[in-house]
């Protein structure tokens, strides 16, 4: 069979991809540099990147995404480490994986509403804290950045945990023994051996969580009740409510570029630093 024929079965998928993904994307991109009359202009980009209101939304979106990514990484690493390295019984591991993955099977809308119930002034957390006497009046957890951050961490944590567990699992436990043998305590061995070897998992987890929170819409929209605007909400507003396809397209494209840059940095880091060492 000629080698070229191998690509034949790919054609249907390529057609679908071009028709339903590349084509709409190009339409959006095409709109972004046209004015209402249809001639070339960069005014939308300039407006987005200079107007203090939009810059602030961009700043808030990045801030939320960075905080969410950092906390998810720390939390996710602890959980992934516990599941792969500390839990010994196969059954316990399996249960842990089910618990970690199960939130993904529920719709983000449902989960976000769940958080509204938990975070509200009469919600579970505030009621508990009031009962214990830690606070005198309910703290504001809903309709602000804190709420969005909590909601996003919950929704995105499984992605981080899964990408970390897959890497941690592949690290030979004898490497820890070898480090102990050479004089390294458990903590020092973690810093020198386990942590550097898990960098590929950290990178892919961070990349996924960061780009997903950057583009998240449902959770911020529901939990903030529209009081805090993030980029995706802004785009939605421009496109569907104000029918400003041109400006919405420009914002979409900026967001896409940011995601692609993150992806490329990630790939570059993985290739240069982590490919030659390889894993056994």
């Amino acid at each position: 069979m000629p080698k070229k024929l191998i690509y034949l079965p790919l054609i249907p998928f390529l057609v679908v991809l071009i028709l339903f993904f590349v084509f709409p994307l190009l339409t959006v991109l095409n709109n972004s540099y046209l004015d209402k009359q249809g001639s070339f202009t960069l005014v939308h980009y300039i407006k987005f990147l200079t107007d203090p209101y939009y810059l602030n939304v961009l700043f808030v979106t990045f801030k939320i995404s960075i905080i969410v990514t950092v906390i998810t990484l720390l939390l996710g690493y602890a959980i992934a480490y516990y599941v792969t390295k500390v839990l010994k019984s196969k059954l316990a591991k399996r249960i842990a994986y089910v618990v970690i993955i199960s939130p993904i099977f529920t719709s983000a809308v449902v989960r976000s509403f769940g958080w509204i119930v938990i975070l509200g002034n009469n919600g579970f957390i505030n009621q508990m804290l009031l009962k214990i006497g830690l606070i005198d009046q309910p703290i504001q957890l809903l309709y602000n950045e804190t709420g969005i951050i909590i909601g996003l961490i919950y929704i995105l944590a499984p992605f981080m945990i899964l990408s970390l567990t897959s890497v941690l699992q592949s690290i030979d436990s004898r490497l820890d023994e070898a480090a102990a043998d050479l004089g390294y305590s458990r903590w020092k061995s973690f810093i020198k051996v386990t942590l550097p070897l898990s960098v590929p998992g950290i990178l892919s987890g961070v990349m996924m969580v960061f780009s997903l929170s950057l583009s998240s819409y449902v959770t911020p929209a529901l939990i903030s009740g529209g009081k805090i605007k993030v980029l995706a909400m802004l785009i939605y507003e421009q496109m569907t409510q104000l029918m400003n396809w041109q400006f919405g397209g420009a914002m979409s494209f900026v967001m896409l570029v940011v995601s692609i840059v993150i992806l490329m940095v990630n790939n570059y880091l993985l290739k240069t630093r982590w490919s030659e060492g390889g894993r056994s």
């Binding site: 070898a178 102990a180 043998d181 050479l182 004089g183 390294y184 030659e276 060492g277 390889g278 894993r279």
Partner: protein, 351 residues
């Protein structure tokens, strides 16, 4: 007071759940000796090694390392280093950094580390691989890196967990000699775990034969080979014909037509003789000699290069005889009756 022992294990057990992996063993290991722990998989040899390294804490008994009680000292504080079965080299570090890893922990100056590691790389013939990563090296080279990484810390004891098992035969033989040379050169105690009896015989000053978590026999290669205490040891070290015996009422057991005194006992005894200790005579006649002899029927002759292996039948027992390749067996036929003879010091009656 300087003890001749670097390691003293007293009544040491390791129990997983209900099952003892190592059952009440006592073992003293001399300064500077090459000791092999030999046994089939699951006999507790690796567990014993891991208890010395500190990866497993002992369940019962005491273990002294270099004169100090060490039963619950964590591995990173023990004066021992390990060469792991699959080397366990750090995949994210260069060969240089792998070898320097232990020295860095000790807080040595960079320049000193560099000098020592470079010297070690030279001793091991690894200079050209200094800046490569472990996956870029062959099995034998990785093996040498693992040895270098352990030895550079100047441990009092080097533990080797079946380090040659993953190498092919030729390389294994070469590494055996290298290990022996290295042992002479550094002069520290080597404890070598293996399931390969030949490897143990070639390398060791003393061999510990283990079986089902217990020590069956401790001795030099020669003692263990010539003077096995049990039929298990005889069978495990070298080749041996192990034949059942028949108990008689007068405190003897009989095998191959002879009676051997063992005293009154309930236990089963085996008649043991090594194939190279049997002479094959193609004539059927009894010889005038003080050697033991028994009539046999030849069932198979195999030429194996350095020896000829003859399978014979004697009183319904299958026995193997090793003849030198020079002995002319060409006129021997399958099914031919012949005689086998052996000196009385060569057979053993063992439990």
């Amino acid at each position: 007071m300087t003890s001749p022992y670097i390691i003293e294990m007293k009544n040491v057990s390791k129990i997983y759940g209900q099952h003892p992996a190592v059952d009440n063993i006592s073992l003293d290991i001399y300064q500077g000796e090459f000791l092999s722990i030999l046994g089939p998989s699951g006999c507790g040899k690796t567990t014993t090694l891991r208890m010395i390294a500190g990866f497993e804490y002992i369940s019962k008994g005491t273990i002294m390392l270099d004169g100090k009680e060490a039963s619950h000292v964590p591995p990173y504080q023990r004066p021992v280093n390990t060469v792991f079965q699959n080397y366990a080299l750090f995949p994210h570090m260069t060969i240089f950094n792998n070898i320097a890893f232990g020295l860095k922990r000790k807080g040595m100056k960079k320049q000193e580390i560099k000098e020592e590691v470079d010297e070690m790389l030279e001793t091991m013939g690894l200079e050209e691989h200094r800046d490569k990563y472990p996956t870029q090296l062959s099995g034998g080279q990785q093996q040498r890196v693992a040895l270098a990484r352990a030895l550079i810390n100047k441990p009092k004891v080097l533990l080797l967990d079946e380090p040659l098992a993953a190498l092919d035969l030729k390389l294994r033989k070469k590494m055996q000699f290298e290990l022996k040379r290295l042992h002479k050169q550094v002069g520290i105690t080597f404890i070598f775990v293996t399931h390969d009896q030949e490897e143990a015989l070639v390398l060791s000053d003393r061999i510990v034969v283990m079986r089902e978590g217990e020590i069956e026999q401790v001795g030099t290669s020669e003692e263990i080979y010539k003077d096995p205490l049990t039929s298990y040891v005889a069978q495990f070290i070298g080749d041996a014909n192990v034949l059942p015996t028949k108990k008689n009422n007068d405190g003897t057991v009989s095998a191959l037509g002879y009676d051997f005194p063992v005293g009154k006992t309930e236990e089963d005894y085996h008649f043991i003789i090594r194939p190279e200790h049997i002479e094959l005579h193609l004539s059927q006649n009894k010889n005038e000699t003080d050697m033991y002899q028994a009539p046999i029927t030849i069932t198979e002759i195999t030429y194996a290069g350095s020896k000829q292996i003859v399978e014979v039948e004697c009183m319904d027992q299958t026995i193997y005889i090793h003849c030198s390749p020079e002995q002319t067996l060409s006129n021997a036929n399958i099914g031919q009756k012949a005689m086998m003879m052996w000196k009385k010091e060569h057979h053993k009656i063992l439990k």
